[in-house]
């Protein structure tokens, strides 16, 4: 039984906009050229709601709401860029920078990194909290790819693309809280994986320098993400 789609109208940043009832605030905002920063969201993957970069204010709700996982509702009044929101976004981003080791000048993704891009865009000039600098492993056992956990922001894009698009479910998350990390199979070396097809999708969806191709030097790792919405569209058609 297919549901009939309903058109609903709402206000985002003072602008009256409309969308289908099954669209998220983020989708409708983007259709209307309203910028909302994101990190864990990626067109073509299921929503995760983990990074909290995309938070917005909805009138009548005291807490902030992630726009990537919240569906629009008739009459909603949404603010995407108040000073309060920006302050929280900068706070969250700062926390991400303290979590692991993000020294851009030594990273193959320098200049192409979404984390770095967000910091520039949001005007994060300094971090008040102390850096934790945990010692995380680097897995270079795969022929073509490297996983450097020091750069990972746990956005789970790699886990989702591997499971949802490639169908291999090679990547997953182990551990809780601050000790959580991405693993390959049941915590094996990537090079030993029997499930990894070597497609490289995870590398290209990874927003940072955590997953990269071998043989790239500083600032050389550019990622191609366009394949994802395209693949999805083609699959839905067939």
């Amino acid at each position: 039984m297919k549901k009939v789609s309903q058109i609903q109208t709402l206000v985002i940043d003072g602008k009256e906009v409309g969308g289908r009832h099954d669209e998220t605030i983020l989708q409708v905002a983007r259709e209307n050229d309203i910028f909302i920063p994101t990190l864990c969201h990626l067109d073509g993957l299921t929503e995760y709601g983990g990074c909290r970069m995309c938070i917005v204010e909805i009138k009548g709700m005291p807490r902030l709401t992630p726009s990537c996982t919240t569906l629009i509702r008739e009459g909603m009044v949404v603010t995407t860029n108040s000073e309060r929101i920006m302050e929280y976004r900068r706070g969250i981003l700062a926390l991400l920078f303290t979590e692991r080791n993000h020294i851009c000048s030594a990273c193959v993704s320098n200049g192409h990194c979404e984390l770095q891009g967000l910091a520039l865009k949001l005007g994060l000039t300094h971090v008040e909290f102390p850096y934790i600098f945990p010692k995380m492993p680097v897995d270079a056992t795969h022929d073509r790819f490297i996983a450097d956990h020091n750069r990972c922001v746990l956005c789970s894009r790699c886990v989702r693309v591997c499971h949802e698009v490639e169908g291999a479910h090679t990547k997953d998350i182990m551990g809780r809280g601050i000790t959580a990390r991405i693993i390959t199979d049941l915590m094996q070396d990537w090079g030993e994986s029997k499930t990894c097809t070597g497609c490289g999708k995870c590398v290209h969806v990874c927003p940072t320098g955590a997953l990269t191709e071998k043989g790239k030097s500083v600032a050389e790792m550019e990622k191609r993400r366009q394949f994802l919405p395209y693949l999805k569209l083609m699959r839905e058609r067939s």
């Binding site: 709601g49 983990g50 706070g91 926390l95 934790i132 789970s156 601050i178």
Partner: protein
């Protein structure tokens, strides 16, 4: 099974019990078991055999008697004498005393406030029935409510009774139970589920565990009634694997109930089917959060997901799912039996009925209590709880565990209910109450809860995952005498950020212990930071030169 058969079981059981002039009830819930109550029960049985008095004297294991601090506990009927800290060597003396006056050396005074000021609904069978025998539950009118619901009431009238009773969820949030049931009933779908949340992960809380260990059938009956009301034929109990005794008794209870036909197919010769399965949790606190719990039952990693959609519409395997706490379900049979007006007669206007609390910390009567909502904290701590150990002074009581806050002396006279506690910056939570006196350092207490949340955070969302680690780091610094004023400001900022941007309840409420101690005990924070001194003498201010 028809009503007559149920009543016949009750009759036979009552006759069996009636032939004994004296019954010796030995608590075999986890607390007393851990101080040797099983050996004690065996010793009573042996002594009864030896004296050949088994015709008129019976010894049996029963559920929790409440005063866990003084275990093993024994209650003797019909005189209702309660003996505390009984050892095997006391057995002959207690049996001698059955026909005379109680052994005064061991007896608790019968008008002790601990027993007198309580109001028992959920715990009504505690200390009276053997949790491993369904007959004893039936003898106390067990499964009659299920029968009444199935045979005499429509699902809507069952729900109406729950709505009118004013029952609110006992798992922490206090969401109106009747409203939740209505939503699940109205949700469309060929398959619906009922889940009982028995994950109970708050440090210091043991209410749900005691209910499952002492009166498991009450929860099964409540779930079956809920299943009938919302239109579900399958139920799950998600119970943590650290509760082996609760699991054992639940398994036994389910098997007995299925055998008698009060669970399973065609219950009470109606067309209603209801089966209950156990699912064991591996002890993650966050798996008590309903969406994480559902993910865990589905076999996935126990991560919360954003709500809406709520489980009532989109729950287990995408089906409408009713999820309630153990104590919530345990209230249901009594509400069906005695009516909503009766239940609503207890408690305050917005919080009806009673609440079970686990008293712990610096208090004389550590244990399990049930009081009408609206009882004052002062009554709970000083009358029922017997006050603070001698020579010390009350400082605060922490409610709601890692999601709650502290309540100080000046607020002790408030009537405890969901709203009054929230107003004071704490929450009702699931019912843990930790009492603190002058030997507790409030900064250290805050650090304890933050550390708990840091290690229990699932790690999915950034504010909770990293914010907790940063808060812990700052509190650690302050308790080592290395804090600066700026750190207090940073703590405040973090609290605000985490509270407003986290994904699930764990993150949203994690700042509460910090905010509430900073509010009521700012002077202690300042003493640590400015004078480099811990007023309670708990923190080692000179430790560690690192950081």
């Amino acid at each position: 099974m028809v009503l007559e058969e149920l009543q016949e079981i009750a009759k036979i059981e009552n006759e069996r019990q009636g032939q004994f002039e004296h019954t010796i009830n030995v608590c075999v819930a986890a607390g007393c078991l851990s101080c040797g109550s099983q050996e004690l029960l065996d010793a009573f049985k042996r002594e009864i055999d030896k004296r050949g008095i088994e015709k008129w004297c019976n010894a049996k294991g029963v559920g929790c008697l409440g005063l866990c601090t003084a275990g093993p506990l024994v209650s003797v009927e019909p005189s209702s004498t309660i003996y505390k800290a009984v050892t095997v060597s006391d057995v002959p003396e207690i049996i001698d005393a059955l026909t005379g006056s109680p052994v005064s050396r061991l007896a608790c005074s019968s008008d002790m406030s601990f027993f007198k000021k309580q109001q028992k609904i959920v715990l009504e069978n505690f200390g009276a029935i053997d949790p491993e025998r369904i007959e004893e539950y039936i003898a106390r009118r067990g499964y009659e409510s299920l029968f009444a619901a199935l045979r005499d009431m429509t699902p809507s009238s069952v729900i109406e009774r729950i709505v009118k009773s004013g029952l609110r969820g006992r798992g922490g949030g206090g969401y109106p139970t009747g409203l939740k049931w209505t939503t699940v009933m109205k949700a469309s779908g060929p398959q619906k589920y009922v889940i009982c949340n028995a994950d109970e992960g708050d440090p210091g809380a043991f209410m749900d565990r005691s209910v499952l260990e002492s009166d498991p059938h009450r929860v099964l009956e409540g779930m079956a009634i809920a299943g009938y009301a919302v239109g579900a034929d399958k139920g799950f109990i998600y119970v943590r694997a650290e509760y082996p005794l609760a699991i054992k008794r639940l398994k036994k209870a389910i098997a007995q109930a299925e055998q008698l036909g009060v669970l399973g197919r065609g219950i009470f010769n109606t067309t209603f089917n209801f089966e209950i399965k156990l699912r064991l949790g591996a002890g993650a606190f966050v798996c008590g959060e309903e969406t994480a719990l559902i993910a865990s039952i589905e076999g996935s990693r126990g991560n919360p997901r954003p709500r809406p959609p709520y489980p009532a519409e989109h729950g287990l395997w995408g089906c409408p799912t009713l999820i309630n706490n153990v104590e919530t379900f345990a209230n249901v049979p009594t509400i069906i039996r005695n009516g909503s007006d009766w239940f609503a007669g207890f408690g305050t206007e917005k919080s009806r009925g009673t609440k079970v609390f686990a008293l712990a910390g610096r208090i004389n009567n550590t244990g399990l209590i049930e009081v009408a909502m609206g009882t004052t904290l002062r009554d709970i701590v000083f009358d029922i709880g017997g006050g603070i150990p001698e020579g010390s002074k009350f400082k605060a009581v922490q409610t709601g565990g890692p999601s709650g806050g502290c309540i100080t002396e000046e607020h002790l006279d408030i009537a405890v209910d969901y709203d009054s506690l929230t107003k004071l910056g704490s929450i009702m939570g699931s019912g843990g109450m930790i009492v603190m006196d002058s030997t507790s350092c409030m900064v250290d207490v805050a650090k304890f809860f933050v550390e708990f949340c840091m290690t229990e955070s699932c790690g999915k969302c950034v504010p909770c995952r990293d914010g907790s680690a940063q808060m812990y780091h700052l509190l650690n610094k302050i308790t080592r005498g290395q804090g600066r004023m700026q750190d207090i400001h940073l703590l405040e900022k973090l609290c605000d950020l985490i509270k407003n941007t986290s994904l699930c309840g764990l993150g949203m409420t994690m700042p509460n212990p910090v905010m509430s101690t900073m509010h009521y005990f700012k002077d202690e924070y300042l003493a640590h930071v400015i004078d480099k001194a811990c007023p309670a003498g708990v923190c080692n201010m000179k430790s560690g030169g690192r950081q």
